[in-house]
């Protein structure tokens, strides 16, 4: 019998019992009816903004080959609701809660973070990369300069470690990751969705109410994996890998590429308890390979 295996990882000083957590926009209080939140590495409820917002006009979803486009536009009930309802609900699971925050200005980010400072939020993920917000995310997350400014501003008020969520809709994602790191981000998570589009040839109209939307799901996994690998080479802070992960094997690929943790999004839609399965598949892999500590996998890619 081999010793007990450890899946523990550390993001910004916060210990997670395993590296598996939900991706923003795919997890909420309803999810708790379908899986055991205590088993997750962290809980990451849907992104919220300072004030409640309605989101984009429907239709908001198009299924694509091995993926889907969404153009929700972060419909949410705002900061107050997160603090008064969402957070207390998830605090009962003895698992770190990550607040995914989206905003339209530096000031809004600061206002939200100051309020979160008063709560038990374990980590904050700055969603500066949602492709479905006209002003907000897009402007910040697609420029290294803007990313630096916003992360610096957030860091100046935050008493909670920060994760910066990066957009793949850029020329060189490593530049953005380095900007986030030098501004003091404690980790980076990548990738958000790829900006995409679909057209109904009968009506000759876009299939999404917002015309364009974000592509997610297994279709984007190779692209995400490549970006995670590139970023992990460049930054010293932990990288959280996101993009089409739908099995323990997928998660392990991201860990080998250098991710310290992974987020699961679209795959939870068809299988709401998939994160529990992914955790146990990672354990199975470690047992098979006789690996007792997950850090032996992280960045373990062999080249040459």
């Amino acid at each position: 019998m081999m010793e007990r295996i450890s899946l523990k990882v550390n993001i910004g000083g916060v210990e997670l019992k395993n590296p598996v957590m939900p991706a923003s926009g795919t997890f909420g209080v309803e999810s708790a009816d379908y899986l055991d939140c205590r088993k997750l590495g962290a809980i990451l409820p849907k992104s919220f903004t300072l004030n409640p917002q309605q989101g984009n006009p429907p239709p908001r979803v198009v299924e694509t080959s091995c993926g889907m486009l969404n153009a929700v536009g972060i419909q949410n009930k705002g900061l107050e609701y997160f603090i008064n309802v969402t957070l207390p609900f998830f605090e009962t699971f003895d698992t770190p809660v990550i607040a995914s925050v989206s905003a339209y200005s530096e000031e809004d980010f600061k206002t939200i973070i100051r309020e979160l400072n008063k709560t038990k939020t374990a980590l904050i993920e700055l969603n500066i990369s949602c492709p479905n917000l006209k002003e907000g995310g897009k402007a910040f997350g697609t420029s290294a300069e803007e990313t630096y400014k916003i992360v610096k501003a957030a860091k100046s008020v935050s008493e909670i470690p920060l994760i910066t969520k990066l957009s793949p809709n850029v020329t060189d994602i490593t530049e953005i990751a380095l900007a986030a790191e030098s501004a003091g981000s404690d980790a980076v998570s990548l990738i958000n969705t790829f900006l995409g589009m679909a057209i109904d040839i009968n009506t000759m109209r876009p299939k999404l109410g917002n015309i364009t939307g974000g592509l997610s799901g297994p279709a984007i996994k190779p692209l995400a994996l490549r970006m995670v690998w590139q970023v992990a080479q460049k930054v010293k802070i932990p990288v959280i890998g996101i993009g089409g992960i739908a099995s323990g094997a997928d998660a392990i690929e991201f860990l080998l590429a250098g991710a310290t943790a992974v987020q699961i999004g679209t795959s939870s839609f068809a299988e709401p308890n998939i994160m529990e399965r992914i955790i146990s598949e990672i354990e199975d892999y470690m047992r098979e390979k006789n690996i007792s500590d997950i850090h032996e996998i992280i960045g373990g890619l062999k080249i040459g």
Binding site: G25, T26, F27, G28, E30, S31, D33, Y34, K46, Q54, G55, P57, P58, P59, R60, V61, V62, E63, S65, C66, G67, M68, N70, V72, Q75, G217, P218, A219, A246, T266, S268, F269, A270, E271, P272, N273
Partner: protein
Amino acid sequence: MRSGVVLANESIGGGYHHMIVNCPKIAEEIKDGQIVHIRVKDGYEPLLRRPFSVYLYDKKAGTIEFVYAIKGVGTEMMKSFKPGDEIDLLGPTGKSYTLKEGAKKIVLLGRGVGIASIISLGASAADKGIQVEAILSGKSPEKVFGGKALQSPTTTVNEVYDIDGTSDVENVMKILRRTQEEGGIDQIFVCGSKRLGQLAYDFANEHNIEGYVSLEERMACGIGVCHVCVCKTTKGYQTVCKDGPVFPLAEVYG
């Protein structure tokens, strides 16, 4: 998630399939008008579940039934489900239709595959001795189903079609007025057509009748998390999978 076993899955004409599934847990929990999300196939193609309203259920036998229209990749694959196949089901989700305490007469308005949403409600109402006036609409007779399942001494089924003009707004309105004159309608339930929904709303408004509509939207998570299946209502965008699929008519058409 629940596992179900297909008992039957056959074409009933008109581009529809009728499927019976054994799933005692869902049969036990299901309420009229709620949705069940079927995973058509393992793997990533198609990626998402397909939502269906439950057409009929039998709590004693532990069965639920669906009528689905062959519309795309997912339903095309479902055609090949055979008796004995095990399928992956999520649900029931969403708000159900509710019969008002003391209701004596209700109207059901369904069109096309939307008819599947209102049939079990009609059966439940008939079981309680409530008078049911059902108007089932479709392009042609083969596009209309469910009449047999509604048969009861207290139920009247009107089938109306586009090909003979009986599904016209004027004719449907005539049936509604006649039903109202024969004794007040307590509730109206509608599914499957915006035009019928509007008509039901106008009529319900005029006569101060409580009315509900069940909506259909493409869904992803099916449990109210992702917010892709929203519809515009007087209360803002609401999710069809969790806040709906059944909404008060006034919230959608008001």
